[in-house]
Each structure stands twice: as structure tokens, then as C-alpha cells.
Symmetry: C2
């Protein structure tokens, strides 16, 4: 049924070793033989058996992605799919396959990772989240397995990671609003345990301070009100005395909730409240009005993560510690939601 090296060898009248050498472009092999063998391989439809190859080479040419559990996905599926696309594309170019896995809880995740790595099914791992303490990272690190984190961890310093400069991104976004003439700017955050939320908050604060603008605690909202509560949250917010004229929102998905709340309350964006979001999901430009957003290069993030991981797999020595964090550039996309300059009061 299956065509093996042996078969090809027999048919070509040479030894299996010779065929094997042809396969690996061995230098010491006659051009004549090489040509003939290749022809026969083609003719017989030979395909190398990856499993056998892996068994002897102790390498699998594949990596795996650990999806976060649904609970943690504030940043929607859009985000992950785009990331995966980047990863898969780059991995493909390097001749790597991508395996995708997830677990219902951290324990299951750890089991899966352990099985895949110890069972020699993959050579390395891409982690798509950043938790505070993470048994998976502990496992990977203490066993010396190659892995890269998409995001940032402040507990683990010297691990490979690919991330945006979220502080700077928020800084830029805030300054954009300030430049537009806003002085009272609020911030809608995501789950506070996500590092990205904290980083963006920090960038916002930094920009406000550097411009000598006031930050009031009640201007900072934690935005888990994706669904129904968008209305109430915005209602509270808009009724503040001396309310903000602009809002930085940590994720475009949340922006939609905000927008919805504002709409129900009959407020107009950007006149009553200007908006700038993050992540620039495809729908950001389709909403009414289109939302200004920081594009963080999600595809690029995935592409780079894959590249970095594969490099680490192939040359396990290069990470000397000072080039371990890779920063993907961001850029602000200005749309209608922030194209309005408030008059002074």
C-alpha cells in the first residue's frame, strides 16, 4: 500500500541507504544515481513517513498553540483567529506544522502540554495569554522546552515573548485625544488581571500626567459590561458632574458595548463623547460612526511569535537574554469617532 524507501531502492536497483542519501541531499552521491532515484520516487509516488523520520531524528517539525479557555477571552475570537493565521503562515514557510490545543482548566492545559512535549509530538509551544502565575510556564521553563509567549509576563523575566508596547500605544492614543483638544478623558479597562489592561492604563495615566491633565478615579471604569450592562455603565458615566469628553477603550469589542449604551441614551459620538479603541478589529470601521483604533498588528504578532519560536527550536543557544522581548509596532487609525474638537468651557 505505502511506498517506502525500500521499495524505491529495489525498483531502482540501489540500496536503501542510497535512496535515503538522495532524500537528504547528501553531497557524496553520483548525479546520475540521484536523478534516477528521484525519478523513480516521483513515479512510484513516494512520500516520506514523517513518524519514522521523527522517531530517529528526535524532532517533529511541528509546534503547538495553546488556546486560552473561553472564559479568558475578552479579546474576541477575531483576535485569536488573526493571530493563528499569522502563526500558521509563517510556520508553513519554515516547514513546520501547527497543532492546536486547549484545556478546560489550567490542569488540563498542563496535561496537554506535557503530553505533547514529553510525548515528542511537538518541538515547542506558543502561549496565547499571560496569566500571573502559570504552572504551564513553570513546566516549560524548568524542563527547558522552547516556547514563546504572546503577551507579557512580569513574573517571568527572561522568557521569549512577542508583544506590543501597550504602554506606548495607550500613551499615543491618549495624546491623540489631547491634541484634539480634550482635557477630561476617561478610560474603560478590561479585566484587571490581564497585563494588557494594566499596561494600557499606565500609558493613559502617563499621557495625562505629562500634559498636566487631571485623572479622576471615577473616570476609570472596568469594562466587563459587554452585553446588557453597557447601557447602565454609560448611564452612570455620562451623569458624572463635569463628565469626560473623550474615552479610551481598551478593546474595540468593548467599544461596541459603549457605543450601544450611548446610542440608547441618545448621545452622539464624537460630539458628546469621543472614542478611541484598541486592536482595530475589522468591524471597527463598519460601526456607526467608525471607531478610531490602535492597530496592534495582530497578524504580525502571530507571524513573529512563530518565527521566534522556530528559531529557538533550531538554534537553542541564541537566546542570551537581552533580545528576548520582541515588540511589534502599533499605529493609530483615526476615524470619525475621534474627529471632533470640543470647545473650551
Amino acid at each position: 500500500m505505502t511506498v517506502t524507501i525500500k521499495d524505491v531502492a529495489k525498483r531502482a536497483g540501489v540500496s536503501p541507504s542510497t535512496v535515503s542519501r538522495v532524500l537528504s541531499n547528501h553531497p557524496r552521491i553520483s548525479l546520475e544515481t540521484s536523478r534516477k532515484v528521484k525519478e523513480i520516487m516521483e513515479e512510484m509516488g513516494y512520500h516520506p513517513n514523517m513518524m519514522a523520520k521523527s522517531l530517529v531524528s528526535k524532532t517533529t517539525n511541528s509546534i503547538c498553540i495553546i488556546l486560552p479557555k473561553p472564559a479568558e477571552e475578552l479579546f474576541s475570537n477575531l483576535f485569536f483567529m488573526e493571530l493563528i493565521r499569522g502563526i500558521v503562515t509563517q510556520a508553513g514557510r519554515s516547514g513546520f506544522d501547527v497543532l492546536i490545543s486547549s484545556g478546560a482548566n489550567e490542569k488540563e492545559e498542563l496535561e496537554a502540554v506535557s503530553r505533547l512535549l514529553k510525548g515528542r509530538r511537538v518541538d515547542g509551544v506558543i502561549l496565547l495569554y499571560s496569566r500571573k502565575d502559570d504552572s504551564v510556564i513553570d513546566f516549560l521553563e524548568s524542563n527547558g522546552y522552547p516556547f514563546v509567549l504572546v503577551g507579557r509576563s512580569d513574573r517571568y523575566e527572561n522568557i521569549l515573548s512577542v508583544d506590543n508596547d501597550n504602554v506606548m500605544a495607550a500613551f499615543d492614543a491618549t495624546n491623540h485625544l489631547i491634541t484634539m483638544g480634550h482635557e477630561r478623558i476617561g478610560f474603560v479597562s478590561g479585566p484587571p488581571n490581564l497585563i494588557v489592561s494594566r499596561d494600557r492604563l499606565a500609558g493613559y495615566q502617563k499621557a495625562m500626567e505629562e500634559s498636566g491633565l487631571e485623572i479622576r478615579p471615577e473616570w476609570i471604569v472596568e469594562g466587563e459590561f459587554l452585553q446588557d450592562s453597557g447601557y447602565r455603565a454609560m448611564s452612570f458615566f455620562m451623569n458624572l458632574p463635569n463628565r469626560p469628553t473623550a474615552l479610551l477603550v481598551v478593546d474595540d469589542m468593548i467599544s461596541f458595548g459603549v457605543l450601544r449604551g450611548l446610542n440608547e441614551l441618545k448621545y452622539t459620538v464624537p460630539q458628546d463623547l469621543a472614542l478611541v479603541g484598541f486592536n482595530n478589529i475589522p468591524l471597527s470601521e463598519l460601526s456607526s460612526p467608525p471607531i478610531s483604533s490602535i492597530d496592534i498588528g495582530i497578524y504580525h504578532l502571530g507571524y513573529t511569535a512563530s518565527q521566534v519560536l522556530i528559531q529557538a527550536i533550531q538554534q537553542p543557544d541564541k537566546d542570551i537574554g537581552y533580545t528576548n522581548r520582541f515588540i511589534i509596532p502599533h499605529r493609530l487609525i483615526v476615524r470619525e469617532s475621534s474627529m471632533y474638537s470640543p470647545g473650551r468651557k
Copy 2:
């Protein structure tokens, strides 16, 4: 470095076969030995080498997903991610790993599939698209490889597939609008080469005909105007003499474009035009107004596809031809965008 069966055997004072038997829960093995071996495995941190296992068993316990190329993804990333989640979850429960792959064009796709299958890296394939003629399907079918199609193909009749009844779904959606009192109903379609577009169009037409309502060709629009052209398309549409009072939109993503166009033209939904979409993406309920949508159970679609494929892999005899199409139920989610009954004229 790696702990093998041999090592465990030596340490336990038994033969490798015995250890292997313990691993596979062989019946004829003393309880005593079994316990001891298991203990030692635990203690030595033994993990079976998947590659070696695959090599001898000629089975990989993994499947692969072929992503469509970006060009074909009218139905956004949201759709695919949700699908993948369903697939990965179910596969995990059956002890299968999921590999994900894609190609820049059909030729590359075919190469990838061929490499994975002939190279014995995966046992079967899930196809996430339905094209008219497909060299990948031809390849899979003629080689007798297990695969399942998410979607429908009218060229290939007897292949395993998981799909919605899109005709019925569109029928239901249209009837909902009719029940609400609409008589002039339009249809925004997707790319005409996608079967799902055609099926939904058919369901719409059926419902209209059965209710004795008129269908005008100019009421049927091909909706590739996601981005900028939403405005112009809607402008054309709303200026029709005797224009529709309701619109069926083939995908929620497109609904956003429509909504945006309407907004710019100062029309109100649902008063000026009622809207019902498909796929019920998470954002459908966050838009202003929230969009009524047919939920097609994307996760369920993926979950079932995985289940069907794995079953086909494990018992390659069962598909006798009359149970090859699996239909996932849909349901209409009514929201504001269709909660308005137009007065008669």
C-alpha cells in the same frame, strides 16, 4: 534523557513487553505486576513516544483542518474561530490532536493535504469550505482518505458533510418578516459562488412564493460591499420606487455594512427598513439596534464535524451512503432590528 519502556522494564525487573501490556491495559496481566509497573512509570516520569507508537500502529490520532485562504473568507474570522473551538474540543475528548493548515492557493493546499496524509501525519481531514470543483476533494476521495466537509457540495454527493439546512433557515427568517407584516422584502447575498449564498437565496424565494409575495430582481443585491461601498449600495437600494420594508442579509458581518450605510443616509432601523441576518455573531447583539439573526450553531457544527470524522476514521465501514449528511439545527434570534410591523399602504 528520555525515559523509555525499556528503562521502566529494567527498573521494574520485568520485560519490556510486560510494560507495554500494562500500558495498553492488556487483560492477561497480574494485578500485582501492573500496579508495580505503573508506580515505577509514574516515579520515572515515563511518557509514551507518540511517534514510535504511530509508526507501528499506522495511525496518528490526529486530524487536520484546512483553513480557506483569506480571500474566501467572507464569513469572518469569528466564524472560523468558533468552528475551530468546536472541533478542538470534541477532538480532545476523543483523544485526537488537531493540526491546522492552509495554503496560499489550491495547489498549495493540495500539496499540504497530500503531504500530511501520505506522510501519515494525520488520519483525516476537515474541510472548511465548499467550492464548486475541488482538487483537494478529488484527491481525498480517490485515495479513500477519511474527510468531512463543513458545508455542502452539490457536485460530490456521497461524501461526509456537516451543514445547516440553509434553505430552511432562510425560509424561516423570511417568514418571520412576513409574519411581522412585511410584504416587500429584499435579499442581500454573499459571493454567488458560495453554496451557502445560493441556498439562502433559495429559501428566501421559496418563502416569498409560498406567501404569494412578489420578488423583484432589483431587490436582490450581491453584498460584497463590506467596506466603503455600503453607503452607495444602500443609497441605490433605498431610492428604488416602492422599495422593500425589510431586508434579509446573508451574513451579520454584511449587516453591519448595511447598517452603516443606512445610518449615513439617516434611515432608521427597523422603522425604515427591518433587518434579519445570519450567523448570529457575538456583535449582533451589540450593534445599534441589535440585529435579529439566525443562529446556525457554529460551535456545534465544528463539534459534530470532528465527531463524524473521528468516527469515520475509527470505523471506516459505517458510511453506507444514507446517513452521510449531518444537519445542525438553526434558530431565529429576534432582536430590535426586526421588531416593527409596517403599516399597510
